[in-house]
Amino acid sequence: MTEQNFSEWVDDYVRDRLPADEEAAFEEALLEDAELQAQVEVALGMREALNNDSELELQGAMPARPSAGNSWSGYALAASVALAIVSTTLYWQAGVENDRLINQIESLGQPVGSVLHVPVNIMRSGGQSTPDVIVQKPEGRAAILLDIELGTKARGEAQLSFELLDPSGEPVLTWQSSPTSEGRTSVVLSSEQIPASRLWLQISDSSGNELERRLLEFRPAN
């Protein structure tokens, strides 16, 4: 591998497109090559500029965000709600999402003790056997809000199908949802519906073609 070849890999590297062995070779070269470092710095700078642009736009569009231990959890404690699966888009655009979630919990029917927010972000270092997220299940009956960051393929779909599969591939729960313009989607699940085990979250398009998978580990309450 020549230095010139590594320069040609810079964009693929920054965009996580290199296979593991090539990524390792690239990073070893990066450690000892000042010009390659400058090129990676430029590509990362580009990514960050565009990313910050999006983040700042989003911050500007958001109303004041409730603080931790806010009305959601207070509401959840007070509300008598049933816990089933509710798919929702949970973003702060136009200030409606908070209300939407509350309404969906309210419409259900049994009491919940808490709402556990679980960000399921795209991980850069996860592997096939390493869970993307490890969740300690709350004590008692609780709502678990999976806040899912979608990958590129899923973001382009109007309608998505989600399945939680047990280790043998059997579906535990299924639902459908649409991604937000920010490439996220959320779902509220009952803690009682989720077994304490590793589960695959499989995301498919409307034709049933698998687009991506995440490995979630649910651990029993302390």
């Binding site: 390792a24 990073e27 430029v42 910050n52 700042l56 808490s114 556990l116 927010h117 679980v118 490890i134």
Partner: protein, 199 residues
Amino acid sequence: MTSEASQSQDLVQRISGQDQAAEADLVNKYERGLKLILFKRTGDAQLAQDLCQDTFVIALRKLRAGELRNPEALAGFLRQIAVNLTIEHYRKEKRYVSQDDGIISLRTPHIEQKSAAIDREASRAILDSALEDLAQPRDREILRRFYLHDEDKSNICNALQLSAAHFDRVLYRAKQRMRQMLQEQPELKSMLLGTLTND
């Protein structure tokens, strides 16, 4: 043996001989590259810096003890420690959601710190200026799709009815411009890359 391999061997031998100047040489030589690797993997300059320090702590302990059998593999040795620390970090902190820290928290702690550190209006002004300099609005859409939305070059060209050559030109010019801006505008560099490459 290449010059690089020879230098690595020399460094490793000196460190195992308890030469403190060699330890400083090791940090000077590999710090920038390690921070870039860690920043690329975490997207967080402060976290990258913390993990970089931890990488050197572990690496120096092992090197002092003579645990690196093949000194020519020094870069791979450092990289592996950094990668392992990153994985361990996410396993312990970011990916573990418990009832205590998970209730209605919308962002991970490091992202929260990042947001807090940015003065929004000042950042907006610096960024607007940089983005205008970087490319025309239509060309910025190409960059956004490529770097942010991870779309394939062919898809972008089809969607925006561009030739491959035009796409390459936009990318090349934007990179040249970004390189120049990072050199000339320390505020912008600090905003985008934090203390990552203060050299």
